[in-house]
Amino acid sequence: MGQDQIDHILDRYVGQDGALIQLLLDLQQELNWVPKEAVQRITERLQIPLSQVYRVASFYNSISLELRGRHTISVCLGTACQVRNGPRVMDRITEVLGINPGETTADMRFTLERVNCLGCCALGPVMVVDGQYHGRVLPAKAEEILQGYD
């Protein structure tokens, strides 16, 4: 990932008003995080003060200012999933991986996130790994699913 890749994404938005959030989402999508260099480049090319870019990036859950693991696990803890024992799934994963929601494993394999509702409420508890949805996940099943990722 270099300056070029970042610039390529920024090219889509230079000159547009109010594009900061969409731009950050694109960066997140393509780079799996928003590195410091990207934040700086946004300031340079879009003339938005650095602290404001940083503020926007830090406000939103979908934008990560820290390097993420190779695989992102999102465990839903929306009300429906909560009622259907979603917390037990989260507990099992935190136990197995040794990290808390918001953290990444030391070997950069997984980043674990808590999400407040993915909209699959009828099938709780729901877990998403790398965009792949899994419904009706039991704690043991969650562990099994994760073993399939390296």
Partner: protein, 512 residues
Amino acid sequence: MNEVVLEIDGKEVRAVEGMTILEAARSAAIDIPSLCYHRALTPYGGCRLCTVEICNEGRSRMVTSCVYPVAEGLVVKTRSDAVVRDRKMLIELMLAQAPGARVIQDLAAEYGVSETRFEVEDPENLCILCGLCARVCEERVGASAINFVGRGVKRRVETPFQLTSDVDFDVCLACGSCASVCPTGAIKLEDITAKKPVPLSSEFEMGLGTRAPVYIPFPQAVPKVAALDRNRCLHFATGQCAICQEFCEPGAIDFSQEDEIVELEVGAVIVASGFDLFDVSGLTEYGYGKIENVITAMEFERLTAASGPTMGELRRPSDGRVPGNVAFIQCVGSRDINNKAYCSAVCCMHATKEAILASEHHPGTKSTIFYMDMRAVGKRYQEYVERAKTEYDVTYIRGRPGEVAMDRETGNPIVWYTDTATGETKMCETELVVLCQALSPSNGVAELADLLDIRLDADGFVSTPEKPFRPVDTTRHGIFACGCAHGPRDIPDSVIQASAAAARAAEVLTDS
């Protein structure tokens, strides 16, 4: 702008359309507390302390007065039971958030909140997230060095990536605006930048005090008009701020002002360029600049002035203590073949005055004046000196000190002198030394003389060669000098000469 009449706490208040309730209330001297509001910033509506109750068509609701616009016939209650109840709860919450913040403690005392029933997560925390720091930096300073970060209970104010200084991120100007608007003292500049803020030294206060970029030099200044220091003004640096211009009611501030060149045809010129002070740091034997408690007479004047940096308390530089004794050294630079050969005329009297002043401000403070000759030549001047000796316990020692040393432990200066009365060489330990420095010709008088084509004398003062009969005439017809422009003299003499110069000028004008 339309006038709007509303009712606040039963009182009729006249406001202007577009004002907020808070602005209207404050203009009518009705106090509504607020923490995140600042006149020079767009209203934020974050702390919610300024919540008031408004009643409209029989229904009442709570609104934040810093944001809510006035309306004709609006009825506002700033201290109804509901408002006070809610305010107390907000204060209780803030007490848990920032228990050490003085301004919150004061509010708690005012509203009878004796303690907080809530959990204190961080007893050291002072930040109440009012946002004033971030907002002033963005809206007025134009640097946006700090901003809010995160969300919800994790919201905080930080520099991006928590860096205090980095080649790429160094946007902080170290202006200190954030720290000065912070209501709780939570902002520490060193957390934001490694740069140290440079306080603006006040020239009038002899560097002992500070001033703002917009300032009136001193209370008795003529003209008493504020000046704007272009080199230290934020607006000139970043194009932002301009708060002064916004709030100046008569609209007197004009950033585009430039020097004006005016041509006047005149029949007479009076040079009244005054004097400047001799720089005593060259006289290394007295230790000025090295020994903290050696000051000049002018600095002494500022320290004892009621409007000065210490509000009239004579506090010595090293430790801020009031000295129990003071030593004045006369003829510093004057009557000195190596510096100024002439006598500066005023120092004997002002030293006497200062010695008396020290005693009046701090009874018990004794002074010693080391002199060569006492030049008390005006009306009742000699009697004044005698009073100093008898009523104010001022000691006069004839002898010119050779050196001022220092006691390292106490910071006390030690004056070495020869008492010419007894012939002994002695040492006098004192707590403060005041150097009565010579008067020199005004800086720039040489260029002025060139311009006016008048001569200066050997000492650099304007030459008035025809005294005693034409004491204020310079070497050029029609140009006159008065006051210290042509030599050291005191106030009465300067005033007399001013009249004389005016008379001479009038004479010349009526001639032609």
